[in-house]
């Protein structure tokens, strides 16, 4: 199945945004405003709920006209695009989101057509599946590790680098003793929180052609 690469799931959802001429500001702008203020670090809804490696939310205003001789056409709705790279089973992942951060989901998808709310988990999962588009080709650089395994591996990598640099030239008995202590300490250290290490910057970069 193209949505899956190993144990990682590539979820693509397009939710039509409510087109209400009387809404001020419009629903798409309300989504954008909420997303602009949503935390991206350890307090992100995707960090609080389990299983997200990387995710994005994008308001797609329209399709793009590439110029003559192509035909110019337009969408009748704007769509909220949710692209997520997550662990394992889709229903468990969506249920995890609905149970952990329902208020965020409601604040975002509440501006979309037919959204039933996240309190009714089954209805929420049904809605998301109705808006899902099958991924045609999915690539993951690492496709056999969970978010937790990856965070732990990054922590181990840092700890091992420090251990090696601090124990150069030590005599074998001392090295062995220190290594035993190192492993015990590493095993008892909790994994870093998802999203940790994010730096909020005043300057926003990452536009096109940078």
């Amino acid at each position: 199945m193209a949505n899956q690469s190993g144990s990682v799931y590539g979820l693509t959802i397009l939710s039509p945004i409510i087109d209400d001429q009387k809404a001020v500001p419009s629903h798409d702008l309300q989504i954008r405003k909420y997303l602009a203020e949503l935390p991206v670090g350890v307090d992100s809804p995707f960090a609080l709920a389990p299983g997200t490696h990387l995710a994005r939310l994008v308001v797609m205003d329209d399709v793009i006209y590439v110029g003559m001789p192509a035909c110019e056409e337009h969408l009748k709705s704007k769509y909220l695009v949710f692209e997520s790279n997550c662990d394992g089973d889709l229903e468990s992942y969506l249920a995890g989101l609905a149970k952990t951060v329902p208020h965020h989901l409601d604040a975002i998808w509440g501006h979309c057509v037919g959204y039933p709310g996240a309190r009714d988990v089954d209805a929420f999962i049904g809605y998301m599946k109705a808006c899902q588009i099958e991924t045609t080709f999915y690539f993951a650089a690492v496709n056999d590790k969970s978010v937790l395994q990856t965070l732990r591996a990054l922590q181990t990598q840092r700890a091992v680098a420090d251990f090696i640099s601090e124990h150069q030239g030590h005599d074998p008995a001392h090295l062995q003793q220190e290594f035993t202590g190192f492993m015990q300490k590493l095993d008892s250290t909790p994994a870093p929180k998802p999203g940790a290490g994010n730096i909020e910057r005043d300057i926003k970069t990452g536009g096109r052609n940078e």
């Binding site: 395994q149 990856t150 926003k204």
Partner: protein
Amino acid sequence: MSNINGKVYAMNAITPMKPWKTWILRGFFLVLGAVKPLQADLINLSFIEFARWVIIPRRKLPFLGDGQKPEDLQYDYLLFFSNFNGTWNQYIDAFSAVLSKGLNAIWRWSEKFPGSVPVTPFKEYIARLQFDTDYYYTAYPQATANDLKSAHTVQSALESFAKKSEGLGPQQFRDEYLRFVIEVQAHLGETGEAPVVF
């Protein structure tokens, strides 16, 4: 809007395709998925954490009723989402230089695709059909794709060494330890705060 979070850049692009051409592209992706050696360049470039191509047939955009107007499109659309390390220019340059055949095989079915070489018109095309990300999250903002691969290599080597070294005398332990250090030494690069890129 920010297309960047830590060391990853979120790219979104959409291109129109004549519906009959999408079947050719589906066939290509089927082969690409089944024949792993064809993905070698994509894997070896090693700065893409996740990427996906999604073909949206013109009559298959989600329709939920409830006041939503049905779409009436002539084209199918190809959506491309990439999570890569580095800057926009570095990414497109590398794509064009290393994966030009693969890119051409994917986008030649899209309207007005100029080819991935030379790179200048290719960049103009990408810039025209890219749209910006409103919210971008990563669980590990300080790590690149290579960091992830290296970290898992170190984790696996450490677990194996810890198991192997149980019950060894100090001398034998040191010999095993040195083998372990040699095995992981190329995978100990430091992760950290991303540089500001322009």
